[in-house]
């Protein structure tokens, strides 16, 4: 009201807009910080609950059980010739009784396919292939003649210019009810399948109450449609033949910031949302899905720039549209180590793509936003992502411009401005430090305290160095989205893992 009154009494349009903007930004910023504070508490509760619940679990029981559900591991590969053999060997050594590994050679132009055929003694088989999900044509399917590799299938297909397209081909030939989607160059923990299938088998159910003898039991419980776990950077870790020997925080600055950011996003963000069943997405690097629901929801969209969140959104929407309860679960343990972009160019391309993907999802699924019919997704997940993820870089950028304007016109109250900057800075350092503490509660990943504290200290320089880059590349992504500029996939210069130092061209993450 005061803003409106001022507008009419003073008659100064720009001054009124300025005051209005300041109020909006203060409310917006404070509410965002409050949400982070609440998320920190929720994530701690969620992590403690998980740790208590799983402290007495003997995971080895499932390894010998004939009741274990089958899982298909789907890993697309594009020009991964240098590391493909050790990576596939690593995927074949999961601690799990019933799984298959499907490698999709997505039209590689190097010797990826030849290496797979030779090393694993693969032969082309006559395969009754049916396309449940859209993807580029599958040319051939290979199986190994060596019983040691009888879990392995290789699909050779026409390049679909996206991981989504290749993943759909993998889902089409998968034999089991659950599938794990990953990148072939990711290093996965041996217990990944056990730890990610557990949430599917652990969801609380209630006894069916039959009404007129017609109610199905499936309607009475929350079906887990996907599960995910924490990802970390593999950049400075010791890796031997696709196995992680020792975890370390990355030495180089850019991946080091990403490690910190990932821990914050998973341990604090997703674990917090997990508590209220509002997990927005499961990472493309590591996620397990209920195949029936993901196929019914249409699988991955190869046109999407944020295919992982898009899939979860469509699966959630499918469940809601069919009046079925569902949940997406997260486990707070690191099960996947992935190589983070080490150069600004590749990093920028990745972040612009993510930002563009978010804008695209908000645009495509706009009917969900603020729609109570979609429950938590419509009233929590989408509004949060719209207000505090999509709009944040724009508001921040406008804020900087406004700040410069205030400085130039000498309208700034410096003592107050400095107090507000310190407020935001100390709060952001606190949130990141808490996330790293929560991470330490789950497992002691780093051998020395120096490595742990060294990573924590990144929180102090993040607001000046890393955060501006994120904002810049996000704005670039939005610009590309609005102008419809064609995305250039480019090459991700892989640094190689462990002893492998050869650089491999591959598609950007």
């Amino acid at each position: 009201m005061k803003v409106i009154t001022d507008f009419f009494t003073r008659g100064n349009f720009f001054e009124t807009i300025g005051i209005f903007y300041q109020y909006v930004v203060f409310i917006y910023g404070t509410s965002l910080l409050m949400i982070y504070g609440v998320l920190a508490i929720m994530s701690l509760t969620s992590i403690i609950r998980y740790m208590k619940k799983n402290a007495s679990v003997d995971y080895n029981i499932i390894v010998e059980s004939p009741l274990a559900p089958g899982i298909s591991v789907i890993a697309p590969a594009f020009n991964e010739g240098v590391t493909i053999i050790s990576n596939v060997r690593s995927l074949l050594t999961f601690n799990y009784p019933k799984f298959e590994v499907i490698i999709i050679n997505d039209g590689s132009t190097d010797d990826t396919l030849e290496k797979l055929i030779t090393e694993f003694e693969m032969v082309e088989v006559e395969y009754a292939y049916r396309e449940k999900l859209n993807c580029k044509p599958v040319k051939r399917i290979f199986r190994s003649t060596n019983p040691a590799y009888d879990k392995l299938s290789v699909v050779d297909k026409v390049n679909g210019k996206s991981k989504a397209d290749a993943s759909n081909a993998g889902i089409n030939i998968s034999a089991f009810d659950y599938y794990l989607c990953t990148d072939v160059d990711c290093i996965l923990d041996k217990d990944t399948l056990i730890k990610l299938i557990k949430p599917f088998m652990d969801e609380e159910t209630t006894i069916t109450k039959e009404v007129n003898g017609d109610v199905l039991i499936e309607d009475d419980y929350k079906r887990v449609i996907a599960s995910g776990a924490t990802l970390r950077m593999v950049n400075s870790c010791d890796v031997d033949e696709g196995l992680l020997i020792r975890a370390r925080p990355p030495r180089r600055f850019l991946p080091r910031f990403q490690e910190m950011e990932y821990i914050r996003a998973y341990c604090l963000g997703k674990m917090g949302w997990d508590l209220i069943n509002a997990v927005p997405n499961v990472s493309g690097g590591l996620g397990m899905f209920d195949k029936e629901i993901s196929v019914k929801a249409g699988g991955y969209d190869s046109q999407s720039f944020g295919e992982d969140m898009d899939l979860i959104t469509r699966m959630g929407a499918y469940m809601t549209d069919n009046n079925k309860k569902y949940s997406v679960k997260y486990v707070p343990v690191t099960l996947c180590w992935t190589e983070g972009p080490a150069t600004l160019k590749v990093f920028g391309r990745q972040r612009s793509r993510w930002a563009r993907g978010l804008a695209q999802i908000m645009s495509i699924h706009r009917k969900i936003l603020f729609n109570p019919r979609y429950g938590r997704m419509g009233l929590i997940v989408f509004p949060y992502h719209f207000l505090y993820e999509l709009l944040a870089p724009i508001i921040e950028f406008l804020g900087i411009l406004f700040y410069i304007y205030l400085i130039l016109t000498n309208q700034i109250n410096w003592p107050y401005a400095i107090i507000l900057i310190i407020f935001v800075y100390t709060y952001s350092v606190m949130i990141t430090t808490l996330a790293l503490l929560w991470d330490q509660i789950t497992f002691k990943y780093y051998k020395t305290w120096g490595e742990t504290i060294g990573l924590c200290l990144m929180a102090f320089i993040e607001p000046f160095v890393y955060h501006p880059l994120i904002v810049f590349f996000a704005l670039k992504g939005y610009y590309n989205f609005v102008t419809g500029r064609k995305h250039v996939w480019g090459n991700m210069q892989r640094q190689g893992l462990g002893a492998q130092k050869k650089k491999t061209p591959a598609k950007a993450g």
Binding site: E100, F423, L434
Partner: protein, 384 residues
């Protein structure tokens, strides 16, 4: 000095209260954030230090505990004299060593004894149990059992079960129906292992479900324990109103090949729950219940896809040869790929002269797409 400090604080507060509200809020949060950050750093360091100290302590105590077990149990001379385990005495001085009075050490001792007992059965296992009892360690476990914390109760259940120490029904049975699923599962597993006469008694009173993960654990315990009296699970299939128990019993019936349960399982074919019905059909297939094959064929057309696929699989498992024409017709004329695959696999799994002749005929008379399904299903390289 104190009065100066108080004056300073009062003057700071006066100045603070004159500030605009949003600046007051910001200042308050700055203080909170700084305190929280320092606390977080301290916690990280303290946690690491505690873990380090604990590790050191375990490294120091483990050899002593292992020496005790080796001397008192593994190298116990009385073991060779064929004495009853109960009459074998330990060296009281060794057991009464004051280091074993500390709670932390006793816990390490319990954990070590459990580890050993997992690896040793027979007389050595019994002697390990006696050592646990003689050192009064079961009192530590009982104490945890009385704790208000459910995770402590679970720990106690695990310790007592591993050491084969009885827990009264009045204590254990209510826990088998706990609202806490983790505690419930642990109590149920303990009950099966500890109850000598009626290990499945809690099936009769269970109103809470057995979650799929808990079924894995329970299945392992039931199928790997030699001294559990296996009942006829048809009883629970017929009378239990808890669907998860019925579903679990179907798996046990199939595992133990309880042919006498076929009538009870057949009654489940009338249930309105598709998933449940599919489980029952799957169980009948595993039991090779030829007597119900005709019934399955009769009900086939009115079933959803999931049940139809299970019927075809069951016919493949029963492989009586009486419904080969039915399978052929489903293979040739179904529009559903999954059904075609299941029908082809069912024909192949018959592996009789008639089925082989049928496959040859199909290979000669059908189109390439249909032939491809047969080749796919026959290919030994395609495992699933």
């Amino acid at each position: 000095m104190w009065s100066d400090l108080v004056d300073l604080l009062l003057s700071a507060y006066e100045q603070y209260s004159l500030l605009p509200l949003f600046i007051e809020i910001a200042l308050a949060f700055i203080v909170i954030a700084i305190i929280a950050t320092i606390t977080a750093y301290t916690s990280i360091l303290v946690r690491r230090y505690r873990a380090y100290v604990h590790q050191k302590r375990v490294a120091y105590l483990s050899p002593k505990i292992e020496d005790l077990i080796t001397e008192q149990v593994l190298l116990n001379e009385n073991m060779d004299k064929d004495l009853p385990i109960e009459s074998i005495e330990f060296d009281k001085d060794a057991l009464n060593n004051k280091i074993y009075k500390k709670e932390e050490v006793r816990q390490i001792l319990i954990d070590t004894l459990i580890r050993y007992r997992k690896n040793f059965r027979g007389e050595v296992g019994e002697l390990l149990r006696k050592l646990y009892v003689d050192m009064n360690l079961q009192e530590d476990s009982y104490k945890k059992m009385k704790s208000r914390k459910w995770e402590q109760k679970i720990r106690a259940l695990s310790e007592l079960t591993q050491m084969d120490i009885a827990i009264a029904d009045v204590t254990l049975l209510p826990l088998t129906n706990s609202r806490n699923s983790t505690l419930r599962a642990a109590a149920r597993n303990a009950y099966i292992q500890l109850s000598k006469n009626e290990p499945f008694k809690f099936f009769d009173i269970a109103t809470e479900p057995i979650l799929p993960w808990d079924q894995l654990e329970m299945f392992k315990i039931i199928t790997s324990s030699k001294d559990i009296a296996i009942p006829n699970f048809a009883r629970y299939v017929s009378y239990s109103s808890n669907k998860s128990i019925v579903s679990f019993c179907l798996k046990l019936i199939a595992h133990y090949d309880q042919q006498s349960a076929i009538p009870a399982v057949t009654n489940l074919l009338e249930t309105k729950d598709h998933y449940f019905r599919a489980n029952a059909i799957n169980c009948l297939g595993k039991l090779s219940a030829e007597s119900i094959e005709h019934k399955l064929a009769f009900m086939y057309n009115s079933q959803p896809i999931i049940c139809q696929v299970e019927i075809l699989r069951a016919m493949g498992a029963i492989a009586s040869g009486k419904h080969l024409d039915f399978l052929k017709s489903e293979f040739l004329y179904s529009f559903n790929f999954e059904i075609q695959m299941a029908a082809a696999r069912a024909i192949i799994s018959h592996n009789t002269q008639a089925s082989r002749a049928m496959l040859n005929e199909l290979m000669e008379t059908t189109d390439e797409g249909t032939k491809l399904i047969i080749k796919h299903c026959q290919n030994p390289l395609i495992k699933y």
